[in-house]
Every structure is written in C-alpha cells, then in structure tokens.
C-alpha cells in the first residue's frame, strides 16, 4: 500500500494526461513520463459495460502503484449517469489526489460532488478535505456559470474546458487560430483568476499536426493558462518547454524582485530596472516567474 502525501491545492500543473482506468498496460507505468498530473478516466474512455471493471482496476492501481511526484486525478462519470456515486467512493477509498467533475454546469453540481466526497471520506476514514476537486466545463451553461463553479468550494483547485463537447454545443468545429473558443477560453480564465484557482486548456487531438499543436500551446501560454490537457505522452515535452519561463524572463524577474526589496527598504516606491518602470504591481508576476522557474528546474534561489 502506498500512502500518498496530502495533495497540494496549488502545485505545478503544466501537463495533465488522460488515461483509461480500464487499461492496465497504460496506467501501470505512467509515472515515467514526467507529466505533472495523470488523469485516470472512468468516463468516456471506459465503455458503458466496463464501468464496474474500471473501478476495481482503479482501486488497486491507486493502492499499489507508486506514482511519486506525479499527481493522480480521476475523471468521474457525469451527474446524469448511474455511475458517479460509486466513482466517488472508489476515488476516496483509493486515495486519489483529486476528482474531475465532468460536464459541470453550476455551483450546485460542485456541491453535490463535494457532499458525496465528504461522506466517502467519513466512510473510509480519509482525512476530511484531503480530496481536491476540479471541474470540466463542456457546455455554454458551464462557461456562463464559470465563476460560481470556480468559487464553489475550498477543495476546488482548477477548471478546464473540454473542447469536443463544447464546440458541438456551439455549432462550431476546431479552428487553427482558436477563434472557435476564444470567448469561452477567455471567460473561463477570467473566472478562474477572479476565484483564485488554476485554469487548463482542452486536449489537441490531431497527433499528426505538430505545428498546430505547438501554435495552440503557445496561444494557451499567451492567454494565461496554467496548463494543458493531453492525450499522448509525446505531447508532454513541448508543453513543459513552452510553459517554462525563458532565461531572459527569469533573469529579469530576479532583478526586479531584488531591486524591489532594496528600494522599498530605502523608502522608494517606484524605480527603474534596465530602463523600465517598476513598482509594487510588478512584484507578484515576477515572483510567479521565479516560482515557476524553480519548479521547472531552471532556477535555484531563495528569493521567493
């Protein structure tokens, strides 16, 4: 039995890879990829008549396999199915780090799941509040209610858009420039930031289109996403590269934080670094760059 450490609500989550909980060949060695989070799937990747088998497989996987620093999240079936309650029981009993709520449309959906999680924590003697939650927004209603969803629970660490279902409900299809989901992504990001949770983009499904994938990940980073959902291990490296700060950004951030500490100690509020005006508004961003750089193994310092 592997007792997993208490999950960290705001850890680094650049990459989150989907894997069917029903496929032992896939999940037994998923930690070797160096992905930030694994998303063991009980929902769409598992056929309707194998939901039971997937849970037994998931339980023993969670209890037996040492995933090390890789976070283990489980995507449960929708609240409109007969499966979600047992899904929650097995996630909590097995000690999953978090649960992804599929097709989430309101704060009430989060509350329903939260209540079942609490009951399961009680039933299986799991520390109360241990099991984190995230929501997948897959419909226009989910996007409209994004803020109340993000702010619905202290267990919520983030929110992700699910492109396949969302595009269908909007009568659109994948567009290379991202225009199909530009509003939804933006609205979700604003809601997530307002609620102080993380925000993840959808999967990119055409594995043969490396150029399209890279363009989409760059756009994700530019829009301010924390990370991306993935379907194949070969997508991990590029995402980590793109989400890592550049050397120039790290050097600049370090200078800003150092200068700010010196200047504010001397009673100065606004000053310049390399010819650019800096005041307190720049500090959280610079500190975030340094934390991310350290998490990516690019910086070893003790400024933050």
């Amino acid at each position: 039995m592997i007792p997993r450490p208490t999950p960290d609500r705001f850890r680094l989550r650049r990459s989150m890879i989907f894997m069917s909980a029903q496929k032992p060949g896939l999940i037994k060695d998923a930690y070797i990829y160096g992905v930030d989070s694994i998303m063991l799937d009980l929902e769409d990747a598992v056929a309707e008549n194998q939901k039971d088998a997937a849970r037994f497989s998931l339980y023993h996987t969670l209890k037996t396999i040492d995933y090390g620093d890789t976070e283990v999240i489980v995507r449960i079936n929708g609240l409109d199915t007969p499966h979600w309650q047992e899904d929650i029981r097995v996630c909590v009993a097995g000690g999953a780090d978090g649960i992804r709520i599929a097709k989430c449309e309101s704060a009430n959906d989060v509350h329903i799941v939260e209540k079942a999680v609490e009951e399961a924590e009680e039933e299986f003697g799991v520390e109360k509040g241990r099991t984190l939650l995230m929501a997948a927004l897959e419909s226009p209603k989910g996007i409209i209610n994004a803020y109340e969803i993000c702010a619905a629970s202290d267990r919520m660490f983030g929110v992700a858009i699910s492109g396949g279902d969302f595009r269908k409900s909007m009568q659109t299809t994948f567009q290379r420039d991202g225009i199909d989901m530009v509003y939804a992504r933006g609205a979700m990001l604003v809601a997530a930031r307002a609620a102080g949770v993380q925000c993840f983009d959808t999967v990119f499904t055409n594995l043969d289109d490396a150029e399209g994938f890279e363009a989409e990940v760059r756009q994700n980073k530019a829009m301010g996403f924390d990370g991306k959902s993935l379907i194949n291990p070969k997508q991990i490296r590029l995402v980590h590269e793109i989400f890592a700060p550049t050397e120039k950004e790290v050097v600049q951030a370090e200078k800003i934080v150092r200068a700010y500490r010196e200047q504010s100690a001397a009673g100065v509020g606004v000053f310049t670094v390399d010819g650019k005006m800096i005041d307190i508004a720049f500090i959280p961003g610079a500190e975030r760059v340094l934390k991310l750089a350290r998490a990516c193994g690019l910086w070893e310092g003790d400024l933050v």
């Binding site: 032992p24 060949g25 037994k28 039971d52 037994f56 497989s57 339980y59 023993h60 009993a93």
Partner: protein, 100 residues
C-alpha cells in the same frame, strides 16, 4: 460470496488477464493459462486463490488467461468477475474491506 452464474472480467490485451468464474462442484478449481507461466505461475495462482479467499469464495470453477498482468490487475479482474456473478459489481463495493 457464492458464485451464482458464470461471469467474466478483463481482456486478452498485453498486461491484462481475463478471468472467468462459474458455479463449482464443492471446491475451487483453478485453471491457469499464462504467457509467463514458467516464471510466475506459482505467484499468479497464489494471488488468485488469496483474492477468492478474501471474498469468501470457496466453490467455483475459475479460469484465468493471463497476459502478463501485475498482481494488482489480477486482483481487480478476479474481484470484478466474482461481483459480476452475484450482480453486485455496480455499487456499494467494500473498498478497503474484502476488496483490498
């Protein structure tokens, strides 16, 4: 648990095992076929028998076709087949109890 009717769980994919349980004739009859029988036959047999024992199954014909499954996968497939044979695989599984 009593095996009421034939039931199966698992696949013949690599790293998996396909387990079939059927009503027995007063004892456990285990037939095992494995791609790694020479190296791991004894261990697989032991895992399957221990799992059946934990579930209180003592009267069944059990067929395991193993494709190099880890112990945790074998357990999961045996348990699922047994619960399916009792129409009890969909909910209220004793996670951490008989299933562990």
């Amino acid at each position: 648990m009593e095996i009421l009717k034939p039931a199966m769980a698992g696949t013949l994919e690599s790293s998996d095992a396909q387990v079939t349980v059927e009503p027995g004739e007063g004892k456990i009859e285990l037939s095992l076929e494995s791609s790694v029988l020479n190296q791991y036959g004894r261990q697989i047999r032991q895992t399957v028998l221990e799992t059946l024992d934990r579930l209180g199954v003592n009267n069944a014909r059990v067929t395991v076709v193993d494709k190099g499954a880890l112990d945790c996968t074998l357990k999961a497939r045996v348990e699922c087949a047994v619960f399916r044979s009792c129409d009890a695989s969909a909910k209220n599984i004793p996670w951490g109890g008989a299933v562990r």
